[in-house]
């Protein structure tokens, strides 16, 4: 029972109630979040002959009417775009503006129309074009290894032995060459094999060499006979040969192993291998030699648009050469047609963005962007024969990023990613897509198109085909989910909005894209374009409403459940929560209009006194959202148990995954460098040492002088999410930094910080280490650090690197250097994933040389590398 302390009021007992002795009273009202049935809009002006089906759709409600934009190949009112167009409302000028990225040019096109006319669907010509400063389009190359050379002119010096023909060597159609070439003890000193073609092979940029298949044979012998030191020469006229690449010390070939060698892009008539007599074996065996050509296609760079307000339009710019997505935005201060100013948010994603939407909160003056994307998920092991083979799954993640203007205006300052929903692992039948977000009545509301099923229990979706027949797809249970947040950072669990049924079809359509919620009257409504043709022969724009009386402030008729409460308790220790047991003797709650499994209901708690018969005075002390409804039936009772929590609980408690498989790829753990084994080698359980005698002592990682040390974290596997924290005592000459995208100890990226010979000055460099050799990709200008304590902190987030210095083990505020890690100009190889770690090279300096008043030890570093 409720107590005085809990409620702030005392509650009388039964005798008080019957005596009318001014007892304290309380009552509970139940109200329902009104989730309405869908309303179908405009089925009469979007016929199948006007461009066919499309998923690309955007809607905006300005308070009195809707504005639509539809992406489709052709038609009077639609626009030629491959990504969802966008509609935003300019309240100052009372116009809608339609924005989209033109499929043919990749430029931003815009047009506007005054409110008051038919804004839904009618012709609207483009009024202006904006070219993105980073470029509208890029060239995407596709490898092609299956060309067929014509007119063979194979030669070799010395001659071939062993019944083998050169045609096999250069014929890519030969799937499993077992060719054999005898080098005749390299007389002459260099063996040559070559072929020329009757016509040039266009756009060659690699040579692919494959070893022969010696599976089941003595591998060591055949591996050593594979070419080791050789030059690759090319010719453009079948007469003159030019050295394209010198290759040395190629070893450890496996059977049918292919290796690629970069050559200058060109149109070649032939390829030649000049094999040196330092090959290590007189016998040479090669499986296959091929040119790798590439074909090019033009693709648009901007993949998603999201206008948060009239003057801010966010977009995701994809850099195909680096396989990254850069979040940028345009700002304008004038009306349509004024010049946009382009800004970089500094956020780079390494995974594809699936959908994006944004909104503006004028009260807090902040823009919130919602991004639905694919990320690397958990590692799943599957048995293949006797081997356990790891597979990296994908997860469907939805985040919000909050952008706040600085005091001086631009640029906007982004928050970190705030998780809304992460499905891990994601699949075709369990997924999220089509994010929509808006700020309504003081609350952020976000919708996601959801597929929820499992591999044993697939949901079905019935889709009407063009000819009016129905098809059934097994694609998980489709619905929309609604997420709410007071601050755009912490998000509620998703409330499933009941499946939308289209009236004149009676089936669930394959709903195309995101549904941005708007406040329409007292209801929350969203519109989407359904990807089907209804029985009238038209595509449809469907609206549905999931209005909440809580959010709109409109009171629906409540149900007083006080008389059915058997047990009532509330807890106000942190937030208001209540637990209620209702009597269901009459069966009233078996299929109740408000208290039922499929309804989203909330309770209003009133406490008060009875001043006289029929004269009750109540005070509303709290509203709680119903979180669980349990029906308990026994032989002699029928009960309904309800638990509920304060609406504010939505802002203080959140779940970032509804899936038990969720695996956080951010900070997991770290070594504290405390050697409890007292052996000098303990305390490094999660630090995989590759090079250098790293030891741990008293919380410090000890590195030897003048020796490069390399170690990797055994935890982190992904680039986007990783965070490196490493406090470092360093001094002039030291080099240290972190490794990322590490495939193995010989191949990774390395961000290096070097304390150069000028005190408090560091240089930062980015290296790409491939095949154990470092290539300098970028050098940043030296920076002087005001701090003199030589303590360094660095972290990396979404492709942006932060480097700080401080005087103690707290984050400083003065020296923060930010670097954009993305200028990784490696056009040929750019791994998506990889481990992280660190490199340290500690110079040999006597402690006496330190000026640090705290007496910095000559050890590196008290770090935490996760």
């Amino acid at each position: 029972m409720i107590t005085q302390a809990e409620s702030g009021l005392s509650v009388g007992d039964y005798n008080d109630l019957v005596s009318g002795n001014y007892p304290y009273k309380y009552k509970v009202l139940a109200r329902k979040w009104n989730i309405g049935t869908p309303t179908e809009l405009r089925t009469n002006s979007f016929g199948p002959t006007e461009g066919g089906k499309t998923k690309l759709f955007s809607a905006y409600y300005n308070g009195s009417t809707w504005g639509f934009a539809i992406g489709a190949p052709a038609g009077s009112f639609r626009v030629n775009t491959a990504i969802p167009p966008h509609v935003i409302w300019d309240s100052a000028n009372s116009v809608f503006q339609r924005l989209y990225v033109d499929t043919s040019t990749g430029a931003l096109k815009y047009a506007n129309r005054a409110a008051g006319s038919n804004l839904s669907i009618s012709a609207l010509a483009d009024a202006g074009t904006y070219n993105f400063p980073s470029g509208n389009q890029q060239t995407l190359y596709t490898d092609n290894e299956s060309y067929t050379p014509s007119g063979p002119a194979y030669t070799s010096t010395p001659a071939i032995a062993g019944g083998w023909t050169l045609a096999d060597l250069f014929n890519p159609a030969n799937p499993n060459p077992t060719s054999f070439y005898r080098g005749n003890s390299f007389s002459p000193a260099t063996a040559v094999v070559q072929t020329t073609f009757s016509s040039a092979v266009s756009n060659c940029y690699k040579v692919k060499i494959t070893s022969r298949d010696w599976t089941g044979l003595s591998g060591t012998k055949y591996s050593s006979r594979m070419i080791r030191n050789f030059d690759i020469e090319t010719t453009t006229d079948a007469v003159n040969w030019v050295t394209a690449l010198q290759v040395r010390k190629e070893t450890n070939w496996g059977p049918k192993e292919s290796r690629y060698y970069d050559i200058p892009l060109g149109n070649y008539r032939g390829v030649r291998l000049k094999i040196k007599n330092t090959n290590g074996s007189a016998n040479i065996e090669i499986g296959k030699v091929q040119f790798v050509t590439r074909t090019s296609t033009t693709v648009n760079s901007v993949e998603y648009l999201a206008g948060t307000s009239w003057d801010y339009v966010f977009y995701a710019y994809r850099d195909f050469s680096k396989n990254s997505w850069n979040l940028r935005y345009l700002r304008r201060t004038g009306s349509m047609g004024s010049t946009f100013t382009d800004y970089n948010t500094g956020i780079y994603f390494q995974r594809p963005i699936l959908s994006m939407d944004g909104c503006y909160n004028s009260t807090a003056n902040e823009h919130v962007l919602a991004i639905n994307m694919v990320e690397t998920g958990s590692v799943v092991y599957k048995a293949e024969g006797a081997k356990a083979v790891p597979y990296v799954s994908q997860k469907s993640s939805t985040y919000t990023i909050k952008f706040s203007p600085q005091a001086s205006g631009n640029p906007l300052v982004p928050s970190w990613l705030n998780p809304v929903d992460i499905v891990n692992p994601a699949s075709s039948y369990k997924n999220r897509e089509g994010v929509g977000i808006n700020f309504i009545n003081g609350m952020y509301m976000l919708t996601l198109r959801s597929y929820d099923a499992n591999e044993y229990n697939l949901g079905t979706t019935v889709v009407s085909a063009d000819n009016g027949t129905s098809q059934v797809f097994y694609s998980g249970y489709t619905s929309y989910k609604l997420y709410t947040s007071k601050d755009g950072v912490f998000w509620s669990n998703g409330y499933k909005i009941p499946t939308v049924y289209i009236g004149n079809l009676g089936v669930t359509p394959s709903i195309g894209w995101g549904a941005k919620p708007f406040l329409v009257g007292n209801e929350i409504q969203a519109h989407f374009h359904a990807n089907f043709v209804d029985n009238k022969g038209y595509n449809s724009i469907i609206g549905f409403k999931f209005a909440s009386s809580v959010m709109t402030g409109t009171y629906l008729t409540p149900t007083d459940i006080t008389d059915e409460i058997l047990e009532y308790s509330v807890d106000k220790s942190e937030f208001f929560s209540s637990s209620i047991t209702l009597d269901n003797t009459s069966g009233a709650f078996t299929n109740h209009a408000v208290i039922n499994d499929s309804s989203v209901a909330y309770l209003e708690h009133y406490h008060g006194i009875q001043r006289g018969p029929g004269d009750d005075v109540y005070i509303l002390i709290g509203k709680t959202l119903v979180e669980s409804i349990s029906k308990i039936k026994s032989l002699d009772s029928s009960l309904v148990s309800i638990t509920s929590r304060d609406l504010l609980a939505l802002a203080t408690d959140y779940t970032i995954s509804e899936d038990a498989y969720y695996a956080n790829s951010q900070r997991v753990f770290y070594d504290n460098y405390s050697d409890v084994t007292d052996s000098g080698y303990g305390g490094l359980a999660h630090t995989a040492k590759h090079k250098g005698a790293l030891t741990a002592e008293n919380g410090f990682l000890q590195s030897p002088d003048n020796v490069q040390c390399i170690a990797f974290s055994t935890f982190a596997t992904d680039f986007r999410d990783f965070l490196v924290e490493n406090w470092t005592y360093s001094h002039q000459g030291d080099k240290y930094g972190f490794i990322f995208k590490a495939l193995d100890p010989k191949n990774y990226f390395f961000f290096e910080i070097e304390d150069i010979a000028t005190a408090n000055t560091v240089t930062c460099k980015l290296y790409y280490k491939r095949k154990n050799s470092y290539t300098l990709l970028n050098t940043w200008a030296s920076v002087s650090l005001s701090d003199t304590q030589y303590r360094r902190y660095y972290s990396c987030f979404a492709g942006r690197f932060l480097f700080m210095t401080g005087t103690d083990f707290v984050l400083p505020g003065s020296d923060i250097r930010s670097f954009d890690l993305i200028p990784i100009n490696s056009s040929s190889f750019y791994p998506d994933i990889g481990s992280i770690g660190f490199e340290i090279t500690n110079v040999n300096v006597s402690e006496d040389t330190y000026t640090d008043e705290n007496g910095v030890p000559a050890t590196l570093p008290p770090g935490q590398v996760m």
Partner: protein, 144 residues
């Protein structure tokens, strides 16, 4: 004949033993108690209002019966008293078929109940060397 009180009950774990009565299914009872059983609850809501619940079957309250008997066990029906006491003990824990002493002695195919022994007392000799016993059993109707 009509239903009337008999000087015995029928109780067996084998249905045919009582639908086509065999002599050994007959038991003499020296005490009999017939206990009606319903399932109800009366709860009070926080406003003091009564909420009465009854478990229904077919729209009417579910009414079952229990019985309590003190059986007299002695040498009869060609069995020794010990054989009969062993048999009554062996019925414990089994689904039993049962004719109350109030039954139609000419028609055993209907009117029987499906019961279980829910409580059983000790085997009590009338005096220390007696071959005659009494035993208390409680039967609960499984299905109406």
């Amino acid at each position: 004949m009509a239903v009337s009180f008999q000087n015995h009950i029928h109780l067996s774990s084998t249905l045919s033993d009582i639908t086509t009565p065999v002599a050994t299914s007959q038991w003499k009872a020296i005490e009999r108690e017939e206990i009606p059983l319903t399932f109800t609850s009366l709860k009070r809501t926080v406003t003091g209002k009564g909420r009465f619940y009854v478990a229904n079957s077919g729209g009417v309250p579910l009414q079952l019966k229990n019985w309590r008997f003190r059986l007299f066990v002695r040498a009869e029906q060609s069995e020794t008293a010990r054989q009969r006491s062993d048999r009554i003990l062996a019925m414990n824990g089994k689904v039993l078929y049962f004719h109350d002493s109030y039954h139609d002695s000419s028609s055993h195919g209907t009117g029987y109940k499906t019961v279980a022994i829910t409580n059983i007392g000790g085997l009590t000799s009338l005096f220390s060397s007696s071959e005659n016993f009494t035993i208390d059993i409680e039967l609960e109707e499984i299905n109406p």
